[in-house]
Symmetry: C5
Subunit: 293 residues, 5 copies
């Protein structure tokens, strides 16, 4: 994710960063321009069709369906944004759960259990890093910190790594209870955070694996496509060659909304709009170390 | 559910998969085309009604009610999508609950209780498969894995199968507590996941059994119907025979939204837009086996 | 609630069931038709007002306020639907809570406590039936099944019957704990379901007793009324006598949305759009009997 | 809150109750009428500006910004309604919490503890009444019922009264546990309801003290103001003196939405749209007395 | 946050407070005015382009895309408002949690533990003040009240201060349990509030650190910019020099919505629309002192 100051207008009007939709859509915008030029040439110069032709009234369709396409795009925008924001919320809950677990364990497990404290101090951030990598379909060995009581060699890296870490953390808590270090009520107090890890990971997997139903995605693309292809036919009579920038701009606006939605919908990648999972994971490591030192 | 890459535009503009609304609506679109042709023929050729006729102004109604129909269709789209997404969330929670239950039991029940561990290892995924089949009104014997402590022969397959499995899992936990294998606080820790199974199943049944109120569904159909039937009358004067593709396209857009909503609304079938319940259930089996091995 | 297949288009376009808004609004639609005829007669035939009259431009108001009325009606539709759907969710939670309570009690209370099991087996569905009747302001004696430990004669039927049943169920659980049949942690495990009954009943009462604020309801009615009354004046100049079906249709669309919203808003009645509370209650009885047999 | 039957159309179209926006806005509507008359007189009679004047095209602005103002007003309506409905939900939860607390305590505290039962029987409804009065910035001594164990003389009425009552109820529960009347698990079971009181009160205070941000409120007012002031200039050329009722009606519609939103936004007053807190509090008293008799 | 009475219309129409968008946007509005004047001069006076020119029809684009820009701005408004309101809810939950924690501890810890009571009485409001300052990236030593058991000298002010306070509070509760002052079930009862502090702080950090995705923010700015730059070209033919105020007003409306959204989006600053965190923190101090005196 790019840090930015939303109040700097000029900068964001004129700066076209790598992920900007203008760049991404440029080939298609140029194709639309070429297509409109051909249509305009044929109608104005070649066939010399006059303004009284029925083709002009095709623009009635564009105004009649203008609402529907706008509302569909807003529906698309809303659902994509909701996923992005839910993804952010889940990562926020991971931060909260990690902090709460660390500060609880710091109070519950005395300094005489140095190994156990070290175990939790390293395993809690390990979970965050493992989940980040899991959501990107990889495993990065260096981001896992070994502890005396659990080494990366015990992980089956082809299986679900976050599950294994969550299981190890839960098992350690139960072991401490059985040894009498933790009292029964303490396991109840810790339960919410321990459950939370798996719930958060599952929710992120759900967001990642479930794009908007293909029916909608494909329908919206077809709609934009036909809408823009007929646009120069309907408007060339009033705009003549001005129809070329006109079609380019309308296409840019409509297609941008779909393109941004596609990008935002899966917020766990490494695009400039994706969530700053590295920074959040590192923040969890810092916080856990401060609380469990 | 079909896996797809939402960023491949060209493919989804031109590929008409089986569930595509173009295919589904083709008979009705052709009927609308025939109807519009007849209207156009009668008005232009047969009666030779001139442009000054009042009939032309019927199109005022279409622009006046254009908002209302757009907003109704977006309302329809939103409610249908919300059910689909809620269904997906419930299945996500089933994944989370199954994982959490497995990793908790793995820590709480020692390896010396091999039969009990095998019981849970098989019964947790059995629940997912049974729920999938229950939501499709069937019972598939092969998808239920027998355990030493519970065989499929004990199921009353004409009753509510998921309830029986949930009851068996809960009863086993209580039995283990009574035998002293689980401590009192452990039943409290497990309670959330045990309750969750039935809550998830109930929520999915609710989504499945409750389509949008008949009043809305029927009203929207009537509205689209009358709106499109009057469309050629109002627009034939400006578009002449071009009114035929015009009506076809407008009808395609409006009816598609209703048709997609109908499909999405019940996400537990086997259509291409439905939830991948097989894959999720299989994932639960894999995860449970890895955690409770 | 009427069961229906939302995919049968033709049937729902042409079938006008009892609750259909066409039927309900017919007197008002006919009144609007008569009114429009009078207006049209006066303007066209009697006063012979020409098209250049300012009255024609009243239609500018209709297009200017077209958005506002559409959005208000969608706001109305959304809030009404949300209540209906929340009511359905509450009843779904009652199903879940009843099932969970039954399957928990089946495991916690041994078969040697036959009377207690019978008590719960009958009292849990009794709650559902009593709540259904309470939401319809009645008490149906036959729907309450007596148990050895609690007879309908103990109910004060003029008081809040569901509360009395919930209190009896909770008291029985506490009594069983005091007798040592249930252990302390079991009351904690059962607490969620026991609380749930009263929470669900309270939420349904809230939906039932709180329609949308009178200000909105009355404002929307006034708006539709004035909007439609001025409609024939503005459009008679372009449509002449065609303005009559025009006004009828616009009025039908706008008023239908308000009428459906009114019907949906209180989902606990016996209209065709209301929730199938009988069926749900009967389902709870079946499930409880299967689980606590 | 006024009880009403939302299905009585005629009554609510013609009945202008005290809080109706027609009444409230009448001075401003008349001012708009006077203003429009002056504009119309100047343009038509005094300056005799012809239809070809550019001023006529000011109406282009009204149609261009028609969407924006509609959507802003719907945004305003939605946020105001959400607060009203959230306020209603909080009061519904107070009803549920009070009932649950009463029926739990009835089972947990035997009839031999008559004073304690009387304490809870009176203090639970006292909380509801105190909260109602607190939300209206007052303290009504008569609505507080004394109990043997807590008299209104112990309240510091200048402090936060509901907090004091919640503290007294919680302290009594803990005292009963220390005396052994309640068992440890019972305090856990009661915790949810005991916490609930303060959470509900805090949520209502939040709604009451936080209107929509001043920026939006002030921006919407300015927008409506300029929009309506320019309205007669743009439309006088097409409507001539008919512009006067036209402006009055448009202003009535737009301003009503803002005025209703202002009224609904704080639902704890004594306006006709506010929540029936007296009735709800009295219902809590009745229910508590029936359950804890 | 400025306190205001939303019902005072006149005051908010004419009063331009410091944060008003009219003031903020004035330079840009004037630039637009200058730009429009130049365009109008060139087209009307210099090039004397007649009304028949195609440039006039550029306004077709403005009406075609009018929906899209309106809906995007409403999307922007909704997401910004949701953050503001969620921020307010979190602070409301901090109030509730602080009150509940104070009234619980007042009952659980007897007056004989004066130091402990003083510890909690001061540390609970210390958390609120520390969180307020943390959200503004600062640390204000005077707002932290020392207690006998914890002095501000123990804080590492470069680390996460709220975390340290939450950890100290949790550790003190566990210490009291180990000393037998609190019973096991009491730690369970207190757990919800103790966890809450960190969850609330994390949620506020999330809101603060995550503005709307750069893609949307930058896209909306570009859209408004191009939309308004082309506005005078399209409308100068109908409005002539009146196009200057026209463009100014349309730009003011569209840009205001974006500017207000930017301001509201991060509600933890010291702008006039931001949340009254000082007042809320002071209220927590008052309430805690009253409950734990």
């Amino acid at each position: 994710m790019i840090d930015y100051n939303p109040k700097e207008w000029l900068r964001y009007i004129f700066y076209f960063q790598k992920a900007d939709t203008v760049r991404k859509l440029m080939p298609m915008i140029l194709t639309m321009a070429a297509y409109s030029s051909v249509i305009a040439y044929l109608i104005i110069v070649h066939f010399r069709i006059t303004e009284n032709n029925d083709l002009k009234n095709i623009s009635l369709m564009h105004s009649l369906l203008g609402f529907v396409i706008s509302m569909l795009l807003v529906f698309r925008t809303n659902t994509a944004y909701d996923r992005w924001w839910e993804g952010r919320k889940q990562w926020g809950m991971l931060v909260n759960g990690s902090r709460n677990l660390a500060l609880k364990l710091a109070a519950l497990i005395g300094p005489e259990y140095a190994d156990e404290r070290e175990f939790f101090k390293k395993m809690i951030p390990n979970y965050a890093f493992a989940m980040k990598n899991h959501l990107r379909n990889r495993y990065i060995s260096e981001e896992f910190e070994d502890t005396k009581l659990f080494q990366k060699s015990s992980l089956v890296t082809t299986d679900h790594v976050p599950n294994q870490i969550a299981a190890a953390i839960f098992a350690k808590v139960i072991e401490l209870q059985k040894r009498g270090v933790l009292l029964p009520e303490h396991t109840i107090i810790l339960n919410h955070e321990l459950e939370g890890f798996t719930n958060i990971c599952g929710a992120c997997e759900r967001i990642k694996n479930t794009p908007i139903p293909l029916s909608y995605s494909s329908f919206i693309k077809k709609f934009i496509f036909i809408y823009c292809l007929t646009l120069p036919i309907g408007y060339v009579f009033s705009l003549h060659f001005l129809v070329i920038p006109f079609v380019m701009f309308v296409f840019y606006i409509l297609a941008s909304l779909e393109v941004i939605a596609e990008e935002i919908e899966d917020p766990f990648g490494e695009d400039s709009n994706d969530l700053p999972m590295e920074r959040i994971s590192a923040g969890i490591r810092t916080a856990t170390q401060a609380l469990l030192k």
